[in-house]
């Protein structure tokens, strides 16, 4: 049963996008993923509007104080097991807004994060790479035959996605 669930999750992860106070740079790149050039639906990834149906939460932005409460609420509404991907420099650490009076500075200060994709903004290829790495970490090929996959959430995986910027 666990294997089936993992299989279903890895083959068809539904992602929820939450902007926690981002500049739109990362957000537009996430939307660009759905369009013909990048087309993430070939990995079974579907953008899902409701937190209750989502497996993966894609968070962008440095998390403003006004959004922090809402981010926690959206995370709590998602069914277990759930994964959070912090997209962009702001979501990873606060980025240029680190230390500003109205930002918390980083998604991991509010909800646990499974993967970090740095970049300002990360290229669509980098986001695909990050999400695919997260998926393969959930279901590593070698451990497939081991009985009783961990039920709890996996330990946070830090992904360094090489960014081809500037």
């Amino acid at each position: 049963m666990t294997d089936t669930k993992t299989w279903a999750r890895v083959k068809s992860p539904w992602v929820l996008h939450f902007n926690s106070g981002a500049c739109n740079g990362c957000d537009i790149e996430i939307v660009a993923l759905l369009t013909p050039k990048y087309d993430v639906e070939r990995f079974g990834i579907k953008l899902e509007p409701s937190p209750r149906h989502a497996d993966v939460l894609l968070v962008t932005g440095a998390v403003t104080h006004q959004c922090a409460e809402r981010l926690k609420r959206v995370y709590d509404q998602m069914p277990q097991p759930k994964f959070v991907v912090a997209i962009g420099a702001c979501a990873c650490s606060g980025g240029v807004f680190e230390g500003n009076y109205s930002v918390v500075g980083g998604v991991d200060k509010v909800v646990p994060v499974s993967a970090y994709i740095p970049g300002c903004p990360p290229r669509p290829e980098a986001i695909i790479d990050g999400v695919v790495k997260l998926l393969s970490a959930i279901n590593p090929p070698k451990q497939k035959k081991q009985a009783g996959a961990p039920k709890a959430e996996p330990a946070p995986i830090v992904e360094e996605v090489k960014q081809n910027a500037q």
Partner: protein, 523 residues
């Protein structure tokens, strides 16, 4: 309309010695007007020119006094009315009774600077977080922001249920129709919208305050991150205003390269919105088509600036990268491809019955209301107001480049989208012309790191409309005050008005026709 009104003589003759006139400061002139005269001056200016409106209101901290600068635009020029109020009793008369467009600007100054506008008082917070303590104003100079203690979120009016048979529907902050977090409480009677209350500030990152803590060079990268869609416009807004104080001799080639960067940005932004509007009415094919054709433009931006989104091309004194002769054929072929697809897209937006049904006569904003609310950009041009900063106050190379100003008179969602559709073609023309007429020479001059004491304003036509920057420098390498007025901030009031009386189902398409950008709005 030619600018026949001489506002300086008008103010001089009407107010005489009561108003001090500083020529050439912050636009054509600044009027120093205290004791409520700001109200009378604006009234006289609106009576003289119907296109007069408030672009922005800047709050400044002078120590003993708080300054309030009203940046006024007229048909073809810029003015500033300077007023001061004592810090101990910061109260000034509101302008909302003569110009509705002032409402949001006044509320923002109240929230961030603590100036009370009598007749337009703020209940709770406007852009600051709800858990921000009352009575702490981040833009004042004496505030130690690290010692601010957040308070538990109080329950405000907007969260309470509507009365009677009306129902309150909360759109946002996390909502499929909004890519960004912002809350709109829409009250409906049946399916008809009766009231819209916005709560902005979900993306407020305190950029205006942070610019005061960094150097001018660092600030370019910071203000670019106000908005991930129209970042070259923000970079130019800041650079343009600093250059007005520094006065470097920016090379001609750089002026053309800046225009190319800003027009490529307009192209990708308009294609994005034209597609997004399709998504909001459930016409996903349109979305996929436009976003498919937006990608080659993103490639061009990457080719010319080095990155898809944040190219950081524009810098003080010029640009950081040149367009080489090898790149020109590639740029031209991509633009020619896009031009070839335009007749098909134009046909969709002009004739497609589904689009017409969802967009025609939806969210109609009359010309009078557009002027009263001081809306900008495609929203104003869709309502028959011929306002385009590129034509009215040409900056950089726009003076040399021929292009058409697109104006539609219908005032509805359909007209606003068609303004953008036609501007796509104009942008292609501008880029092609600029490439063909690119002057030779250097692309950058060296500039000093410190900026002498001064102040200036700069306004430019960003993809979403007029973007306004005000910078006050104090002789160091960090600015004293930076004010950013973004186009969406000026356009949201029009949505609050046009949505009323229409179906709740039309709210998304009406709203997306403003091309809203909340990260711009909140800063």
């Amino acid at each position: 309309m030619p600018n026949s009104v001489d506002f300086i003589s008008l103010v001089q003759s009407k107010f005489g010695d009561k108003v001090q006139i500083q020529k050439g400061v912050n636009g054509e002139a600044s009027f120093v007007a205290n004791n409520g005269l700001h109200h009378d001056i604006l009234k006289a200016m609106i009576d003289a020119d119907e296109k007069t409106g408030i672009t922005s209101i800047t709050g400044l901290d002078f120590g003993e006094n708080l300054g309030i600068y009203y940046h006024i635009h007229t048909a073809k020029s810029f003015f500033t009315i300077k007023a001061e109020v004592p810090r101990a009793n910061p109260k000034i008369k509101t302008l909302t009774d003569i110009h509705t467009g002032a409402t949001f600007h006044e509320l923002e100054v109240t929230d961030l600077m603590g100036v009370v506008f009598e007749g337009n008082e703020l209940n709770g917070h406007f852009v600051l977080p709800e858990n921000w303590p009352d009575g702490v104003y981040p833009l004042r100079k004496d505030i130690n922001l690290s010692s601010v203690k957040l308070v538990p979120t109080p329950e405000r009016e907007a969260n309470k249920a509507a009365e009677g048979r009306q129902v309150k529907i909360i759109i946002g902050p996390q909502h499929p129709a909004l890519l960004e977090p912002e809350k709109f409480s829409v009250t409906v009677d049946g399916e008809t919208v009766t009231r819209v209350e916005p709560r902005i500030g979900y993306v407020h990152r305190g950029i205006e305050k942070t610019t005061e803590l960094r150097t001018y060079l660092q600030d370019i990268y910071l203000v670019e991150r106000v908005c991930g869609i129209c970042n070259p416009a923000h970079a130019y807004g800041f650079v343009g205003v600093v250059e007005k104080i520094l006065k470097p001799a920016v090379p001609e080639r750089a002026r053309y390269l800046r225009v190319i960067a800003m027009e490529l940005n307009r192209l990708h932004s308009h294609l994005l919105t034209l597609g997004h509007a399709g998504l909001e009415i459930g016409y996903e094919t349109v979305f996929q088509y436009f976003w498919r054709d937006r990608e080659p433009i993103m490639d061009l931006i990457e080719l010319t600036s080095g990155n898809r989104v944040y190219g950081s091309l524009i810098t003080i004194g010029g640009v950081r990268r040149d367009i080489t002769s090898e790149q020109i054929p590639k740029i031209k072929s991509v633009l020619a491809d896009l031009r070839g697809k335009l007749p098909f897209y134009r046909k969709i937006y002009l004739e497609e019955p589904t689009l017409r049904l969802r967009m025609k006569d939806v969210g109609t904003l009359s010309r009078t209301d557009a002027l009263k609310l001081s809306v900008v950009g495609p929203v104003a041009r869709g309502s028959g107001v011929d306002m385009d900063v590129r034509k009215d106050l040409p900056y950089e190379a726009y003076n040399d480049i021929p292009f058409k100003e697109i104006v539609y008179d219908d005032g509805d969602v359909w007209a606003r989208m068609n303004v953008r559709m036609d501007e796509v073609e104009e942008s292609i023309n501008i880029i092609e012309y600029a490439i063909d007429h690119l002057p030779a020479g250097p692309i950058k001059v060296e500039v000093a790191r410190s900026v002498p004491v001064g102040e200036a304003v700069c306004s430019l036509e960003a993809p979403r409309g007029e973007l306004f920057y005000y910078v006050k420098s104090n002789g160091t390498d960090m600015p004293e005050r930076v004010k950013i007025r973004t186009p969406t901030f000026a356009n949201i009031p029009s949505f609050l008005q046009t949505a009323i009386g229409e179906s709740i189902a039309d709210v998304p398409s009406n709203f997306v026709s403003l091309d809203p950008c909340f990260s711009c709005t909140d800063r």
